[in-house]
């Protein structure tokens, strides 16, 4: 269960803007933790698909970086919720993220070679952009607990780095 929650963070990154638009009210800390974890797990799952399918060194290196960083973030997220005795709470945003990610993975799974590389990396750029937007405008401002806020802020910097890294890889593939 906790692994699933961590994944939420990764998922946020991958999905883009639409899932966040559905969040009507300010999310609570348990919901934010769930969303952030989900967003991470989604990005790890996408990266594992890329490691399985791609033969391009830059894409493989990038995907391994995503697994490493997002798993590290999610370990921190799990440690924090344990420390704060917060139980991450499933919510509409997490569900929308997971649904969109499943659709994207199904789309990617049908592609091969250069078409896969391009679709994966383009989606990584878009996903990180969306998650960064959500972190900046919704999740960080809504977070009540200072430690959770701080972890989200570190997460934002990581994801902004990933967005630039993905853009760099996209440039190489062209």
């Amino acid at each position: 269960m906790s692994i699933r929650h961590t994944a939420a963070l990764a998922a946020l990154l991958l999905l883009g803007a639409a899932p966040f638009a559905q969040a009507a009210d300010k999310p609570t800390d348990p919901q934010i933790a769930h969303i952030a974890y989900t967003a991470g797990v989604i990005d790890v799952e996408a990266a594992k698909l890329a490691i399985e399918k791609s033969k391009t060194k830059e894409v493989l290196d990038f995907a391994k970086d995503m697994v490493r960083d997002h798993e590290a973030v999610n370990v921190q997220a799990l440690d924090l919720v344990k420390k704060l005795k917060v139980t991450p709470e499933d919510n509409a945003t997490s569900q929308a993220l997971s649904k969109a990610a499943a659709e994207e993975r199904a789309k990617l799974a049908k592609l091969d070679g250069a078409a896969f590389d391009k679709a994966y990396v383009d989606n990584e750029v878009a996903y990180h952009k969306q998650v960064n937007g959500a972190l900046e405008t919704l999740l960080i401002p809504s977070a009540q607990n200072a430690e959770l806020k701080s972890l989200l802020e570190t997460g934002l910097k990581i994801f902004q780095g990933h967005e630039q890294h993905a853009e760099h890889v996209a440039g190489i593939l062209k």
Binding site: D65, R68, T154, Q164
Partner: protein, 102 residues
């Protein structure tokens, strides 16, 4: 010919009385190089201390790269003078600069 000898003598003298080479620490905490800009001399060593749980690099475009594993340190001894901009290859939004004087 005498000119050449003078040069050798100067070089030797410089070698005999070296400026004390320093180890300069740059801390990495939450994806920030700190201090972001470091003034150093050729022969000094930069030691990056990574407090993050993430791997980082100090990379110069078209130049050197230092891998800095999570919660570890890594060093580089400066061999050339000049300003150098570096970044983290994994998180290109992390930037630093070394101003290296001879």
């Amino acid at each position: 010919m005498p000119k050449r000898h003078l040069w050798i003598a100067l070089t030797l003298a410089a070698g005999l009385v070296p400026a004390q080479a320093e180890i300069i620490q740059v801390t990495i905490d939450r994806l920030v190089f700190s201090p972001a800009t470091v003034e150093a001399k050729v022969g000094d060593t930069i030691e990056w201390v990574n407090k993050d749980v993430f791997a980082h690099t100090a990379t110069v475009k078209g130049g050197w790269e230092v891998m800095i594993p999570p919660k570890k340190s890594a060093s580089l001894t400066l061999k050339a003078a000049g300003p150098v901009d570096y970044f983290c290859r994994f998180h290109p939004n992390m930037k630093g600069r070394l101003d290296v004087t001879p």
